[in-house]
């Protein structure tokens, strides 16, 4: 017993090192699987406040281009209102405007932080779009800020469909270029042309059907493959993302409950 204690004391530094590293690795693993900690992320009020400050300052430096983007967005919104009022889909969908206060675009796991949180009714799993197209999915919600997983994060999967024939595929990102993503799971019996339009499929409650995602840049079919490798040019320009809208689908809870009930 005494010898054991002696050994433990002798190697205590190493044991502390191992214990701390194990704790850090558990944090990484759990954060990759369920990043729900709103305190230990940029959804934290203080951290996000600092990011807001930075984006306020840089916002003044780019007012002109921002105004142009806002004007374009307004026009687009008016078009949307007219089209929405004309169709009777029966879906109760609300768009909550938000400002991007922090964003990375050149890492493998990019995130963006928006200035809306649980106080504004934001919930994990809601879709985020802007005037150009789909942006990402809400991943962590704090009281006043939320962290969004954009399309340009290697963890993101988004169900999409071709407008021309309604074939479904899964949009993923390869970590290389924030302008392009890859569309997987498209079987080879379909003909893919450059310039085909890709939109959200509406199969999950995250996004309603038909939000633009991108257009096909090129498609490769290696011999022996049963699926295409399709490169999609994303509609959304993540490098200059400033304003977004969170998609709040009133039926999301019910749909998720139904899906969970199936398992």
């Amino acid at each position: 017993m005494q010898n054991l204690l002696k050994i433990l004391l002798r190697y205590s530094n190493f044991l502390v090192f191992i214990a701390l590293e194990v704790a850090a690795f558990l944090l990484i693993v759990f954060n990759n699987a369920y990043p729900r900690s709103s305190v230990l992320s940029t959804a934290n009020d203080f951290v996000a406040w600092q990011n807001t400050l930075v984006s306020e300052v840089s916002g003044y430096l780019s007012l002109r281009s921002e105004n142009e983007a806002l004007a374009a967005e307004n026009a687009d919104l008016r078009n949307q209102i007219s089209s929405i009022s004309s169709e009777q889909t029966g879906e109760d969908i609300h768009f909550m405007p938000a400002k991007v206060v922090q964003m990375t675009t050149d890492e493998l796991h990019n995130y963006l932080t928006i200035n809306r949180g649980s106080n504004d009714g934001i919930r994990v799993g809601q879709g985020v779009r802007n005037a150009e197209g789909a942006v990402g999915i809400v991943r962590t919600v704090g009281r006043n800020y939320s962290v969004v997983l954009p399309l340009i994060n290697t963890h993101t999967n988004l169900s999409c469909r071709f407008t021309k024939n309604d074939y479904i595929g899964t949009l993923q990102w390869d970590g290389k270029d924030s302008r392009f993503a890859l569309l997987a799971d498209v079987a080879t019996h379909m003909v893919v042309n450059t310039g085909d339009t890709i939109v959200t499929s509406g199969l999950s409650p995250v996004f309603p059907e038909g939000i633009p995602v991108g257009i096909v840049e090129n498609s490769i079919l290696n011999e022996g493959d049963s699926y295409y490798t399709i490169r999609v040019r994303l509609n959304t320009n993540f490098k200059r993302l400033k304003y977004v809208e969170v998609v709040q689908n009133a039926a999301q809870d019910e749909l998720e409950e139904l899906e969970n009930g199936m398992d």
Partner: protein
């Protein structure tokens, strides 16, 4: 008094890191983590265990700003674990280690080797853990190379300006 200075420097360096260096997204692969300057230059007077706990804390704070819970924590703990052994191997004159580790206390050759080894270990660990897969190994190595170079230049430059 020494520790108030150390904490003061940590606050200033952390502000620079978050407000300036995290905002630079210049060459796509350049993310210098200059905050480890504080860990590297801390005097080696505290018990080794306490050093590692400080490392864990500093890493955790950085993780909160990067949405990468655990990544910087793991890298900083490793850096703080290796530190006394590396310094022991690089510096013969043990009397000088009561001061903080700087150009003045250990000399140009030792500080250069020390900073280069530590920064590369730290950056490689951060980028590899953040990628969390072998499929991006090329990008991880490029990121490590470019970012380490900038961090090393800044830490050595700071030493030359302040502790020659």
């Amino acid at each position: 008094m020494e520790w108030t200075k150390q904490i003061g420097r940590y606050v200033v360096v952390m502000l620079l890191q978050v407000l300036l260096f995290d905002q630079l997204q210049l060459w796509g692969a350049c993310h210098p983590y200059i905050y480890i300057l504080c860990l590297l230059m801390m005097p080696i007077t505290l018990p080794h265990n306490v050093d590692m706990l400080i490392g864990a804390l500093v890493g955790l704070v950085m993780d909160v700003f990067c949405n990468s819970l655990g990544v910087h924590t793991a890298a900083c703990i490793l850096v703080m674990f290796i530190r006394p052994y590396l310094i022991g191997a690089l510096v013969n004159d043990k009397d000088r280690l009561n001061e903080q580790i700087s150009l003045r206390s250990i000399g140009m050759e030792a500080i250069l080797r020390y900073v280069v080894i530590m920064v590369i270990i730290h950056h490689l660990m951060v980028f590899a853990l953040a990628a969390w897969s072998w499929s991006h190994i090329g990008f991880v190595l490029l990121e490590t190379l470019v970012s380490s170079l900038v961090t090393i230049l800044i830490i050595i430059g700071y030493n030359i300006l302040k502790y020659r």
